[in-house]
């Protein structure tokens, strides 16, 4: 019995190794997606980009190209989601910020309708201006000041406070509620997480909504007017997740 088990384990290991060897490198898949996009085969391009995202590739350029393909094929809500996901990865990228603003204008959305909430926006701002790096400098200075031969307690304390202030948006931002983008035009907001539920309203494409919960194939959301209900997961996509 034991030798048979050992053989099975060996076979499984071999198969796993082969499967890993056959998996394509992310750069190859990305390039193929770009080729599709260059030939205006938007669906194929998006398919390749989605595959990469599903495999855990977190690259701003992936979401940038995805947004370009979605925007070119008329899916502005999806494009806005991709730009916002890319912006999460690289908040300092000015072109991402500009594209989000452009799409917001094209979709006729108010700035508050694409907001990540106070905590989310605060964290994004802190990351954009590298508050985390500045906080590290402040903390290091504080430690050097207090532990040096000539202890400068007031200077050290001031540095520590400055560092804490700079780091505060990251701590506060960790409590932000997840948000999603409505990627489907006229997606219904339903009163229950069921297929036969009653549609309460239609959601605006591109609107950023807080995700309050998840039930099966549906997410509980609240739209800009304050109406709460359920939307299908295919219609509302979580920012920064695929």
């Amino acid at each position: 019995m034991k030798p048979r088990l050992a053989w099975l384990l060996l076979l499984a290991t071999l198969l796993a190794t082969l499967a890993t060897a056959q998996a394509e490198a992310p750069s190859v898949v990305f390039r193929r997606g770009n080729e599709h996009a260059a030939r205006s085969r938007w669906d194929d391009a998006i398919g390749e980009y989605a595959r990469l995202a599903k495999d855990g590739v977190k690259a701003p350029s992936l979401y940038w190209n995805w947004a370009q393909a979605a925007s070119a094929s008329g899916r502005k809500g999806e494009a806005l989601w991709a730009f916002m996901s890319g912006r999460e990865l690289t908040p300092g990228d000015g072109s991402m910020i500009r594209e989000v603003e452009r799409l917001r204008g094209e979709l006729g959305l108010d700035p508050s309708e694409v907001s990540l909430g106070f905590l989310g926006d605060l964290r994004l701002l802190a990351r954009r201006f590298h508050f985390d790096a500045l906080a590290i400098v402040a903390f290091l200075f504080s430690m050097i000041s207090v532990m040096g031969k000539k202890s400068r307690s007031s200077l050290s304390l001031a540095s520590l406070l400055a560092g804490l202030l700079l780091a505060a948006p990251f701590v506060a931002g960790s409590w932000r509620e997840p948000r999603g983008v409505v990627v489907q035009k006229d997606a219904p907001l339903m009163d229950a997480p069921r297929n036969d539920a009653v549609a309460l309203a239609n959601l605006r494409e591109g609107e950023v909504v807080p995700l309050l919960g998840e039930e099966g194939e549906y997410v509980k959301i609240q739209d800009a007017s304050g109406a709460r209900g359920f939307a299908h997961k295919n219609d509302v996509r979580r920012i920064g997740a695929e």
Partner: protein
């Protein structure tokens, strides 16, 4: 039992004739106890409710009228010669009645119940003592106009009455069987009386019975009852891929449409049909609930091509023909063109203009927030460490200035050396302890050594026998204490 004596009443009201036949029986009880007049049934009508009677021995006194101590006269009229006030005109008959538009119905079929007040006196107000109840029915109030409340002249048992409809309700039976509508109590206020208001009078309607039958066998569960027509439409028959088409399924007619809430099933291969939004435009009339109900579906095709929105059936039981009927909408074709050929609003970018693609997979911006968090903890720990070091440093120089000043003032006080040596030594010790604390807390440095030496001298002064003057020694000790404190300043 005697009778029956028969009387027939025919009345003409606004050109319409009504006929009433009354059979009167006289019953005589043969023994005391409970008796009952059984239900009376007439073909085509529901039986009446049995009537219970309590038979007692002896005679029943007529109900006493409220006694008037003045015998109906106005005492003030006799004293002051005041003319008698006009009395309310309450000499006349008054009763209420509830009628049904039909004695029998099927489940879901509307029945109109009307509450009338018959009066021979003038009334200033009519209200229900408590809301009427309709067990086993859905009840809908009729939208009434002002003219609906106008009274009409009628004759009941040869006597003229004015008849007012007070309330009309449309009832929809929800279960089968012989359903009862309990009596309703109405509070009627005659006009006149003191200050124009008289005591209200209560009257009750009879218990009404409705025979409710089930819908015929084979009727689907939740089917509508009434006369309906269905229609369907789309907002556009040609759309671009990625756009949505709105499909409306409308049911129009009269019956119990308000209670039909199950959405029609819609499945289109290759397209997503979202759950519908329901809108209705319904009005309750005496014949039923009239108007329309619309289910609005948003359909998003997933691929190019021609789709067909299928025919949707709608089953209902038609009371007019007493039959089950199924109406169907027509199938509607929808053409989905490629996204590039769509309308300008949804048009993609010009495909000749290249999209701005990025060639390489780059890395995300480095997130240093965790490192910052770790360093924050270290920095706080460093501050705590520095704070713990502070007490040993302050043992030499960090004493409270106010405490030092107070101790110096005490040591320089003229009265310090005027008392006994024990008292002077205790005051010097107290001054030093006020600044440096207990002996155990004294620092292990030069100041500490000076303090300990001083303390030993003070102990000597306190306990040495009084063999001579210690003034010089006390002065010397005090000067040393002052020197230690001045060094701190």
């Amino acid at each position: 039992m005697g009778g029956p004596s028969t009387s027939t009443q025919i009345s003409f009201v606004n050109g319409s004739m009504s006929r009433q036949k009354v059979l009167s029986y006289v019953l005589r009880a043969e023994k005391t106890g409970s008796a009952e007049v059984g239900a009376v049934s007439v073909p085509g009508y529901p039986p009446t409710a049995p009537i219970s009677i309590d038979v007692v021995s002896g005679a029943i006194r007529p109900a006493q009228q409220p006694q008037d101590p003045f015998g109906g006269r106005d005492p003030f009229e006799e004293i002051f010669g005041r003319p008698r006030r006009p009395q309310p005109q309450s000499q006349g008959k008054l009763f209420v009645e509830a009628t049904l538009s039909r004695p029998a119905a099927r489940v879901g079929e509307p029945i109109l119940v009307t509450y009338f007040v018959y009066t021979q006196i003038s009334l200033s107000g009519v209200e229900f003592a408590e809301a009427p109840k309709y067990p086993g029915f859905w009840a809908e109030e009729i939208d009434r106009s002002r003219d609906d409340s106008k009274g009409e002249n009628t004759v009941v048992q040869g006597e003229p009455f004015l008849r007012y409809p007070v309330l009309e309700r449309l009832l929809f039976p929800t279960r089968t069987g012989l359903l009862e509508i309990p009596e309703a109590r109405l509070r009627l206020v005659p006009a006149g009386g003191a200050f124009g208001v008289a005591a209200p009078i209560e009257r009750s309607t009879r218990v009404l019975k409705v025979s409710v039958n089930a819908l015929p066998n084979g009727t689907p569960e939740g089917s509508a009852v009434g006369t309906y027509a269905v229609e369907s439409s789309v907002d556009r028959s040609t759309i671009a891929l990625g756009d949505a088409v709105t499909f409306r399924f409308k049911v129009k007619g009269r019956g119990n449409l308000k209670w039909v809430d199950a959405a029609p099933s819609l499945e289109i291969p290759g397209a997503r049909a979202f759950p519908p939004r329901v809108t209705s435009d319904l009005k309750t009339t005496r014949q039923g609930i009239e108007g329309s109900k619309t289910w609005e579906f948003v359909i998003v095709p997933e691929k190019e091509g021609t789709y067909e929105i299928p025919s949707i059936p709608f089953s209902s039981f038609d009371p007019a023909t007493q039959s089950l009927r199924t109406d169907r909408t027509s199938a509607i074709p929808v053409v989905v063109s490629p996204a590039t050929a769509s309308a300008p609003a949804a048009a993609p970018r010009n495909s000749t203009a290249p999209v701005s693609l990025r060639a390489d997979l780059d890395g995300p911006q480095r997130d240093l927030s965790r490192a910052a968090g770790a360093l924050a903890l270290l920095a706080v720990a460093a501050q705590a460490w520095a704070w713990r070091r502070r007490p040993s440093a302050s043992a030499n120089h960090g004493r409270s200035k106010s405490a030092i000043a107070a101790a110096l003032a005490e040591l320089r006080s003229e009265s310090l050396l005027s008392g006994t040596k024990e008292r002077a030594a205790a005051r010097i010790s107290g001054s030093l302890e006020g600044v440096f604390g207990a002996r155990a807390e004294w620092p292990n440095d030069d100041t500490g050594d000076l303090l300990r030496s001083l303390s030993e001298d003070l102990e000597f002064l306190r306990f040495a026998p009084q063999l001579g003057s210690y003034d010089a020694k006390l002065k010397e000790v005090r000067d040393r204490a002052v020197a230690i404190l001045e060094a701190l300043q």
